[in-house]
């Protein structure tokens, strides 16, 4: 598994994808955080990072599928899938290797935003006037959200040999998981079950974590969605033998 992870990272670093994705993410988030007056922290008046954590998921919704779309689609298209699947490694090792490599790229793109925390920490009046616990909770939430999007993207990529289709399916599913369920729950037809439906969505759990409260129920939610998507991926890969 570790070798597949390494190879995937090598592929990312040998090609432009990783640099472009990380660069675009940081530029976009940086502009939203510091420059655009509508969302800028400097105009906001409060020393917090809510811009990053409320807009971050929407940026990741597009960037993560861009990272994951190639992972299986490209292999299928170029035939290297056959090469990989005839080596003495299990399907789950391949999936985990690819998943973790893509996830690491996501982490890489999030790490530089820690500078924002430092800047706001220093800019606060008095210095350090920031809800650190809330930020930590939000970061964990954002990382878990990234991990979930990555799992969705990996599955979408395993479906088809066309990267664009993988991208579109992944973006759509990420959107449904993030926004769809809570929007659905907001409709006036569910009665009592609305609350249950809302809990299927990512945003419910993500927002709970943003408050700085790390609840096992939210963690369990994220981990179950991730493992569910990865198991679906394994099912798709295994289907060649049906």
């Amino acid at each position: 598994m570790i070798y597949i992870l390494k190879k995937e990272l090598n592929s990312f670093l040998n090609s432009l994808i990783a640099y472009v994705v990380i660069g675009v993410f940081l530029t976009g988030i940086g502009l939203l955080m510091w420059v655009f007056p509508e969302t800028s922290v400097l105009n906001y008046g409060y020393a917090d990072m809510s811009t990053l954590f409320s807009l971050g998921p929407y940026v990741l919704m597009f960037l993560i599928p861009a990272i994951t779309m190639r992972s299986f689609s490209e292999e299928k298209k170029s035939g290297t899938m056959e090469l990989l699947l005839t080596r003495p490694v299990t399907d789950s090792q391949i999936i985990l290797g690819k998943y973790l490599a893509d996830f690491l790229i996501v982490i890489f793109s999030l790490v530089p935003t820690l500078i924002y925390y430092y800047s706001i920490y220093q800019l606060g009046s008095p210095t350090g006037n920031i809800d650190t616990a809330g930020v930590i909770g939000s970061y964990i939430g954002l990382i878990l959200l990234g991990a979930t999007f990555t799992a969705i993207g990996i599955w979408a990529s395993s479906l088809n040999e066309n990267q664009i289709i993988a991208f579109i399916i992944a973006v759509f599913l990420c959107f449904i998981f993030y926004e769809g369920f809570s929007a659905l729950a907001a409709m006036d037809i569910w009665g009592k079950s609305a609350y249950l439906i809302e809990q299927f969505g990512i945003s419910y759990h993500y927002q709970a974590m943003s408050r700085g409260l790390i609840d096992s129920r939210n963690l369990i939610y994220f981990f179950s969605v991730i493992s569910f998507m990865l198991m679906l991926t394994q099912l798709v890969l295994g289907s060649r033998k049906w």
Binding site: K6, N14, G79, E82, T86
Partner: protein
């Protein structure tokens, strides 16, 4: 036995891609796997490597069942898939290290093995290039290098020489010959010369069924090989009426070439000793009609690779 294939079938929808085929390969044997396009060669190979599962029947590699013991089988196989897929964005040595590590090679063993394969496959000068920047011949060598990196006892090569120039083909063949002396090799191709140059045994399949499984010698000796006749080039001092030669019963056809030359085609099943007889006949016929015959040259004979091609055609074209 390194490879045992038993009653192997694969059905795609309604089409039987592979139909009840059985064969075995011993260590040290190179088996040429022939068949027209779509005959089921690649499907058979994919099942032998465990990439596809058979509809029925089974494959055993070095004593391990492909379906039940897939991982163990994969350790014992070196596989070069059709079209030789590669990661074009990796460097040559990086790629070989990756494949080697998937096969469980570690640190020093991996390093020395990669260096050995690079040397063996003539990739020394290209080792620091990206695979995407290499020509087809070099990519093919990388494909072979990755199949051989863990020194497998069984080698399955799906059309390893397609699309190469004649020099490269010779090199690749030599390479296969050198490294595969103690291995069981299955080798698919539709180039007949390749089979003659490399293989001990030939297996021809058509429409998913085995039509021939025999050694190269048997195949050539069973009469079918002499299906084509001789071609003889005659040269005269001046233009002549070539139709005269058609009176001989051995002559099937005569085609005028440039510069008073003519190409004679004889009928099938010519024996070697009959050639001198035919020569004699031709000269006496020329003398009788006062034709200035100044040259006689044998253009092809029965050992020509074409003859094997004709066997192939005979066996595979009939029932399509």
């Amino acid at each position: 036995m390194s490879i045992i294939v038993q009653d192997l079938s694969k059905v795609f929808g309604k089409q039987k891609a592979v139909d009840q085929i059985s064969f075995q390969v011993r260590p040290g044997e190179i088996l040429g796997f022939l068949g027209p396009n779509g005959a089921g060669k690649s499907t058979t190979m994919k099942m032998a490597t465990g990439y596809l599962s058979p509809t029925s029947g089974n494959v055993e590699i070095c004593g391990f069942d492909v379906m039940e013991n897939s991982l163990e089988v994969r350790k014992h196989i070196g596989y070069l898939p059709e079209h030789n897929p590669l990661y074009l964005d990796l460097y040559v040595h990086e790629y070989l290290r990756f494949i080697g590590s998937l096969h469980g090679l570690r640190s020093i063993g991996l390093k020395s093995r990669v260096a050995e394969m690079i040397h063996l496959c003539g990739l020394t000068r290209e080792q620091n290039k990206k695979i995407g920047a290499l020509s087809k011949g070099y990519r093919q060598r990388i494909g072979l290098a990755q199949a051989l990196i863990h020194d497998p006892p069984v080698l399955i090569l799906d059309e390893p020489t397609t699309g190469l120039d004649p020099n490269q083909i010779t090199e690749i063949r030599q390479l296969i010959k050198n490294v595969c002396q103690r291995k069981a090799v299955v080798f698919s191709t539709h180039i007949m010369q390749e089979v003659q140059a490399l293989c001990h045994r030939v297996l021809i399949i058509n429409q998913g069924k085995i039509v021939t499984d025999s050694t190269l010698k048997e195949l050539q000796n069973n009469g079918q090989v002499q299906a084509s006749g001789f071609e003889i080039e005659l040269e005269f001092a001046r233009t002549v009426n070539e139709q005269i030669f058609l009176t001989l019963k051995e002559i099937k056809d005569i085609i005028p070439l440039s510069g008073n030359k003519y190409l004679l085609k004889t009928i099938k099943n010519k024996q070697d000793e009959r050639l001198t007889e035919l020569r004699h006949l031709l000269f006496s016929l020329a003398a009788k009609h006062d034709l200035p015959l100044i040259g006689l040259r044998l253009v092809n004979s029965k050992s020509d690779p074409q003859s094997l091609e004709e066997i192939f055609r005979k066996l595979t074209v009939t029932n399509s």
